[in-house]
Symmetry: C2
Subunit: 148 residues, 2 copies
């Protein structure tokens, strides 16, 4: 017995897979609300939590305060632009050769790698434009907060 198919779940699943950003629950709620007025933020949280528990999503926290969700469940890593807050998936070269030295008695289950820096769009954008960028994507709100 899997999860029941409800319009809310269908919508959220579709929205997640249609976006290349890594939206927060709140950003997803905004998106969903525009297509299904009345959907509850509580439902968004619940659905995301369920999907993550089922392994259909990965969830991350890049220190912005809000959890981000990623429908890409492959072993992959992330680029985080500290200017606009955008997150991109990446398969980093050399990641499989990382080692924890033996003096640490530790069994590694997974390895999270986050490259922080500046994306091309932000580097090329005039300073004046940057604020515009950071308010126009769905990840925005995180970006503006992190700059304060």
């Amino acid at each position: 017995m899997g999860l029941k198919v409800t319009p809310q779940r269908q919508l959220l699943f579709r929205l997640l897979h249609d976006t290349s950003t890594h939206p927060t629950a709140d950003a997803l709620f905004e998106l969903a609300s525009s297509q299904m007025p009345g959907i509850s933020l509580r439902t968004v949280y619940q659905t995301l939590t369920d999907l993550a528990a089922m392994g259909e999503l990965q969830s991350f926290d890049f220190g912005s305060g809000a959890t981000r969700f990623d429908p890409n469940v492959d072993a992959h890593h992330h680029l985080l632009c500290t200017t606009c807050g955008d997150v991109a998936d990446i398969y980093a070269e050399g990641a499989d050769r990382l080692r924890v030295d033996d003096q640490h008695d530790f069994v590694v289950a997974s390895t999270d790698i986050v490259f922080r820096g500046e994306c091309g769009a932000c580097r090329n954008a005039p300073a004046a434009d940057r604020s515009r960028i950071s308010t126009s994507s769905s990840t925005i709100e995180t970006a503006t907060r992190s700059q304060s």
Copy 2:
């Protein structure tokens, strides 16, 4: 003009450097309160924020919901035990050979690497002990919720 030397700052600085764990603001507040009753949680947050801004501390968020602070400001990485929530510093072999492929137009400023898994203490601990320890990890709590 640097920061003024106050007893609160001296205490917090000492506590941070005396501990090998990576305490949260709240944990540090508990510690500080035992040695300086009356110290304010607000002061702890303020001091940690100041020190981090000055580069005397690194702050991290491993997805537990609470920011952790680390007086080790060298370029280093972390082991996170998903059972007990403990964090250890590590200098991972191969980290300097990680590459972001050229197709990503991205300038890397820093690289965060977190190895998630189980520490020796938890692996060797009797099962009965684990539940006592395990309340601090958010990943666990997420997993258990999803089953309800």
